[in-house]
Symmetry: C2
Amino acid sequence: MKVDVGKKILSANEEYAVRNSRLLAEHKIFCLNMISSPGSGKTTILTRTINKSKDKLRIGVIEGDIQTDLDAEKIRATDAPVVQINTEGGCHLLAVQVSGALANLPVGDLDLIFIENVGNLVCPSAFELGEAGKIVVLSVAEGDDKPAKYPAIFAKSKVLLINKIDLLEVSGQVDFDIERAKADARKLNKGIEIFPVSAKTGEGFADWCDWLIESIKNARGK
Amino acid sequence: MKVDVGKKILSANEEYAVRNSRLLAEHKIFCLNMISSPGSGKTTILTRTINKSKDKLRIGVIEGDIQTDLDAEKIRATDAPVVQINTEGGCHLLAVQVSGALANLPVGDLDLIFIENVGNLVCPSAFELGEAGKIVVLSVAEGDDKPAKYPAIFAKSKVLLINKIDLLEVSGQVDFDIERAKADARKLNKGIEIFPVSAKTGEGFADWCDWLIESIKNARGK
């Protein structure tokens, strides 16, 4: 019986995910589901990405948080359209919640939607939201062993953003072997794109934003 | 029906939690359930705590991880007894898993058992394991807004360890208002003990280890 109930919940989520994916395709919107531990810098990555790409991309954001709209406020300051979802304790976003959020975004006017999932490196990886791909963010302060210890999300993501690389420049401050993290991620996922970035200083954002523009072009070419 | 199934699972976990709690009480063992995001420094805190308290406390460790026994290996290097639980994808430890681990620890020879939960600031807070209390660890690299954004675990913990405070000394490197984090945690939990520490340099460990010894004395006095 446990199995049946689990199956039913998963299919309900999948149904909404398919519905979201169709709506996004109709409007030619590229959608990325951003997943990481709490405090890896997802929101700061988004505000810098939006500000850097303002002339080239029309970006909207769906913010998933357990409580507060602190992150949505930061996105609002960039003038990008944003919808906040509060899960009230829920450890991941569901496709039905994203469906509601999409209804409140100006989908006719957007090229790209980022979904910032709840800060959790485990559960969100199991729930499709209708996205074109997942982005996993790993801060160097979290340690280079995270791809080995939390493999699911690294195996499923299109892109790994290794954030806070500015901390590596302060000698001895943070022990993080960037080559080990890259190698472990590629062992799980041969095709994963990896961009080392600093959302604080902007380092690495040229390559990451070029990848976004290129991916949107390729998706539309299909 | 969803509610019934949920209830049943919770009670099975609670049953094992009560059983663990009784076993620990019989052996006069103080047990702490350590919870945090991935990469906040739980294992390094444990190795330093064990090494610093070697002459005063006999400490055992139960390591919870999704995959690998990398953390257990680090504990083993201190000579403390350790049992690794691999959850194989599970986002939190269950009391039944801890029960199995306790059967493999020398409970007659221990004063204190640390359970290092899976790195996840959300789900583990909802599952009692039979512990005397929860410890939440927050690294300054994760940001001072985490108590407000992930309130459940801060509301339930006996102790908040604010780790990696060495990063605050590098001016401008990490933005973290320690007074804001403390105030937000105390808003949720008036009695929470807060220790700012650096598992890397050892700063703050004298107070934290004194608290452990005092708490064990108090628990035995009851």
